[in-house]
């Protein structure tokens, strides 16, 4: 018995080793960025793996430099404000619309949902020029509000689609019973459907948060001075190499937050992915 288990284990060793190797391979680039960000500014022309030989070389100076850099800290703050506020707004607007599309009858309901599904894959590029002109006319160019509204709009098709799919799984009788008891639609929505749909709403919120935190194209187009972090790093990257001591910590901070959100809520994130198309 023990012998066969042993033999079994031996034949499976390559599998474990192979997977461990792949895992290591996948971790290396991120670790490389972290270690690069810890290299002293004078040593940035050496490889990051040097820290394995000389761990004492590691320093937080680059992070001090980053947080002393007003443009960078402002950019991080802008990113945080845009991501959080647009996520809240999107979740509310999408939940209301998904509720209406699922549980209420109104003229054009089916057409609306077909339009929503059609808009799922529409590329952002299609809206850049008209919205640019619109923002210039309306004074929304280079504002947090302009970025927030754009992100809400492009998050809506996926949001409505995802939530409607989830709402459809809630038993119809439950909603009907609440209505017969005299509950208003807003009460049914707030007190019955929302609590039941919390996992789906969490998926949507995490998705939208990560998507907008990580956005580059929209920010690059509609922001000049009110720069989110990706654009701030990009404007530094023109002198790539010489200022790696600023780029590396900035890039690491910019990815540490979505990474933490992902690790904390990864179950919801994966659920959101599995629930349907992805942008």
């Amino acid at each position: 018995m023990t012998l066969t288990t042993l033999a079994h284990k031996a034949t499976r060793a390559p599998l474990h080793l192979g997977l461990a190797f792949i895992g290591l391979l996948w971790l290396t680039p991120t670790v490389g960025l972290l270690l690069t960000s810890l290299l002293p500014a004078a040593q940035t022309n050496t490889g990051w793996w040097r820290l394995f030989q000389e761990p004492t070389l590691a320093t937080l100076d680059n992070y001090r430099g980053l947080f002393d850099n007003a443009a960078m800290t402002e950019a991080l703050w802008t990113t945080a404000v845009v991501s959080v506020s647009n996520t809240v707004l999107l979740t509310v607007v999408a939940a209301l619309a998904a509720y209406a599309v699922t549980w209420l009858s109104f003229p054009g309901r089916d057409v609306l949902f077909v339009v929503v599904v059609a808009l799922l894959v529409v590329p952002v590029q299609i809206a850049l020029i008209p919205v640019f002109s619109l923002y210039n006319a309306a004074g929304l160019f280079d504002t947090v509000l302009g970025l927030v509204l754009f992100h809400v709009a492009f998050g809506l098709p996926f949001g409505i689609f995802l939530l409607r799919n989830f709402f459809l799984g809630i038993p119809h009788e439950l909603v009907e019973a609440a209505r017969i008891d005299g509950a208003s639609e807003i009460r049914v929505f707030l007190e019955l459907v929302l609590p039941l749909a919390l996992p789906a709403i969490a998926s949507l919120a995490i998705f939208q948060f990560l998507w907008t935190w990580n956005d580059f194209l929209v920010a690059l187009t509609f922001a000049r001075d009110v720069q989110p972090i990706t654009v701030a790093i990009f404007s530094q990257a023109r002198q790539f190499g010489t200022n790696i001591d600023l780029i590396a910590p900035a890039a690491f901070v910019s990815l540490a937050i979505p990474l933490a959100v992902f690790l904390a809520f990864q179950r919801y994130f994966v659920k959101g992915l599995l629930a349907g198309a992805v942008k």
Partner: protein, 428 residues
């Protein structure tokens, strides 16, 4: 009837914000971009299809189209294959969840930051770039640094460097001989077929000579070919004329002897060509114009492999174990089970992964601006980047930019129709 009316107003209140936002930021821009694509750069004049003609006549746009075709042809298929392999393998170990989290992690970070990460990985200098450092280590393991990578002249009658080659300081003409003694070569680095060095014989109409390792156990006398000193075989020797042009090349034999025959009258110098000295690995230019596309694809695959894996893994777990078990009991091996049961049942999931990735790859943008240095961007460009450059990158040609936007929309339109058709089918 009254109740219905009240309900209808509620419905309007519920959908109004979404309808307004979708209308202003998506539907109106879509129509507006379409109309705008028939007007000139400033929007003052209707130009018909001119922008679409310009678009197909522009080198940068054609490069972008070609690059996007390459992306669509390579990346979704590669990712699906990788995702499938990872999902199938991970299913067999108990720590599958940990493995999946690690591979999936890059999905959470921005493509822009991922690009920065790979730009650091891909630096050409093997002292700085991890990819080239790894290649250097592997290369050294299989073929140690060149035979002569540490060679230097043994006497002052020979000068030069590893980069320029070593040459004799004295001039020679036909019928004379030269000796080029080199030292500083490790015993282990000598070619295995080297044997005792021979002095070259003077020959009429030819320049002859010997290139040898001017060292023997105990030292020996520099500049003299002695017993136990080996010739250096198989290296390139060049004959230079008075203009320092290479007029002839030859190769040394096992005893280090070389011969340039039929040499015209005149004074010459003899040089050991620099190609004989294998220089240390200088690094592959991953971020240069030639390799930038594969480098960007690697970065992209690193990010999206987790997506493919997770979707395929979910598909795998939905497949009934009983069918697989039944096949195993019937004597099918693992490959047969995979080939005839698992793979066919996975086909719908694989299709979803492929299509989703194809759409995403068509829109690829961030990674180009973050991985590719400015000097490689013209070769790395894609449709989404061209649209941005033409519209906002200084040219401010909104007419042409709109046309490129519409082109991108047309490319994803088949998937849009597919989605709508699937919805219609589900509704009826």
């Amino acid at each position: 009837m009254a109740a219905r009316g009240r309900m209808s107003w509620t419905a309007v209140a519920f959908v109004a914000p979404a309808v307004v936002v979708l209308g202003v930021w998506l539907v109106f821009p879509l129509v507006s971009t379409f109309v705008r694509s028939f007007f000139d750069a400033t929007g003052a004049e209707f130009v018909g299809l001119e922008n679409y003609g310009d678009l197909l006549g522009r080198d940068s746009v054609l490069t972008a189209l070609r690059n996007n075709a390459l992306w669509v042809g390579v990346v979704p298929a590669a990712l699906t294959a990788i995702g499938l392999v990872f999902a199938v393998l991970a299913e067999r170990v108990r720590w599958a969840v940990a493995f999946k989290i690690v591979v999936f992690m890059p999905m959470a970070i921005s493509l822009f930051a991922a690009g920065v990460i790979w730009r650091i990985m891909d630096v050409q200098d093997p002292e700085q770039g991890a990819v080239n450092a790894t290649i250097g280590v592997v290369r050294d393991a299989f073929s140690p640094e060149g035979v002569l990578s540490t060679a230097q002249p043994s006497t002052e009658t020979v000068t030069g460097s590893l980069e320029a080659g070593f040459e004799s300081t004295s001039q020679v003409s036909a019928g004379q001989t030269v000796t080029i003694g080199l030292t500083g070569i490790e015993t282990g680095e000598m070619p295995a077929d080297a044997r005792q060095a021979d002095p070259a014989q003077p020959t009429d109409g030819a320049v002859t000579g010997t290139v040898w390792r001017d060292f023997r156990p105990g030292g020996g006398e520099p500049g003299v070919i002695e017993a136990q000193e080996q010739g250096i075989p198989g290296i390139t020797i060049e004959l230079l004329d008075s203009q320092r042009d290479v007029v002839k090349t030859t190769t040394s034999d096992r005893a280090g002897v070389f011969v340039f025959s039929d040499v015209a009258a005149g004074d010459y110098r003899v040089r050991v060509g620099p190609q004989s000295f294998e220089t240390p690995f200088a690094g592959v230019p991953w971020l240069g114009p030639k390799l930038i596309i594969p480098s960007m694809m690697v970065a992209y695959i690193w990010v999206w492999a987790g997506f493919a894996m997770v979707l395929i893994a979910a598909g795998l777990s939905a497949i009934s174990r009983e069918v697989q078990e039944a096949a195993r009991i019937d004597g099918a091996n693992e490959w047969q089970v995979f080939r005839h049961i698992t793979a066919p049942m996975l086909r719908p999931v694989l299709a979803v992964v492929l299509v989703t990735l194809a759409i995403n790859v068509l829109k690829v943008f961030d990674i180009v601006l973050s991985v590719a240095p400015g000097s490689s961007q013209d070769d790395a460009t894609v449709i989404a980047l061209e649209m941005w450059r033409v519209s906002f990158g200084g040219e401010n040609n909104f007419g042409l930019g709109s046309a490129i936007g519409i082109l991108l929309f047309v490319l994803v339109a088949p998937v849009l129709l597919l989605n709508v058709r699937r919805l219609r089918r589900d509704q009826t």
